[in-house]
């Protein structure tokens, strides 16, 4: 794998009407290795946003219905994110609910995160979807230009 051109950085977009974030990255590591990093205390190594969000503790009962929590500091304030695993399919898929307690994010709002891992010739393609940022399922667009007013979901997997 080292002889191939380096894979590019992560890309993420959001869709306003549907209320979700979609992110993708290709990593030079096996799906097994990536799965370990997204489902263990290794999360503390990368669930970080410089100056905003720093995950310091991770606890998880890694099975369907098992609970997980991550806590740390966000802009100087302690916070906890917690949820439950909905799907645990190593090394291909992990789905977990996500509820933020304290900053950042909406207290009490339940959202869901899914990771799909696919083996590629360079390593693993990670596709992350974080959804549920709306109270109700979105209805069909009406073609009157609403969608054009906001950032549209780009084709990020092509």
């Amino acid at each position: 794998m080292s002889t191939m051109a380096s894979t590019s950085s992560a890309r993420a977009v959001w869709d306003f009407t549907e209320g979700f974030v979609l992110a993708t990255v290709e990593i030079e590591a096996t799906p097994e290795r990536v799965f370990q990093a997204i489902s263990s205390e290794e999360v503390c190594q990368w669930w970080v946003r410089a100056g905003v969000f720093d995950t310091r503790e991770w606890k998880a009962d890694l099975r369907v219905g098992g609970k997980w929590s991550a806590s740390g500091v966000a802009r100087g304030n302690p916070y906890t994110i917690e949820g439950e695993f909905l799907e645990v399919v190593p090394p291909r898929k992990l789905v977990q609910t996500w509820r933020t307690v304290g900053a950042p994010g909406p207290a009490g709002a339940m959202t869901t995160v899914s990771y799909v891992l696919e083996a590629t010739d360079k390593g693993t393609r990670v596709t992350l979807r974080h959804w549920g940022f709306q109270a109700r399922p979105a209805t069909e667009g009406n073609g009157l230009g609403w969608e054009t007013s906001f950032q549209k979901l780009e084709e990020v997997l092509g």
Partner: protein, 107 residues
């Protein structure tokens, strides 16, 4: 933050209806009263008034009294607020996945 989530809920509730999205699109072209909107959408005036009330409760539109009429206008701020909420998560995941990549690739 809880207040922002509540506001976001109200915005999403308001825009979950295609007629209300169409009304917002129409109002982006310029202010209108309930009668104009009812004619544009071939809907009854009470039906349009009900939609306008939901939009007003979500603070997506503001109304001003002009003579005997109420004139409705779009207020872009709540939409920007919800967009900002999503943008925060977008930024978080983009940055985090880059960190995950660097972590696993040992760079």
């Amino acid at each position: 933050m809880a207040r922002r989530a509540q506001a976001a809920d109200a915005v999403y509730r308001a825009i979950s209806d295609p007629t209300r999205r169409a009304i917002l699109d129409r109002l982006r072209a310029g202010p209108a009263n309930a009668g104009d909107l009812a004619a544009d959408f071939e809907a009854s005036r009470p039906a349009v008034s009900k939609h306008l009330r939901v939009l007003r409760d979500a603070r997506l539109v503001v109304d001003t009294r002009v003579g005997r009429e109420r004139l409705y206008e779009v207020d872009p701020i709540p939409l920007q607020s919800v967009a900002g909420w999503l943008e925060g998560y977008r930024g978080f995941w983009q940055e985090s996945l880059d960190r995950l990549k660097r972590h696993l690739e040992g760079k």
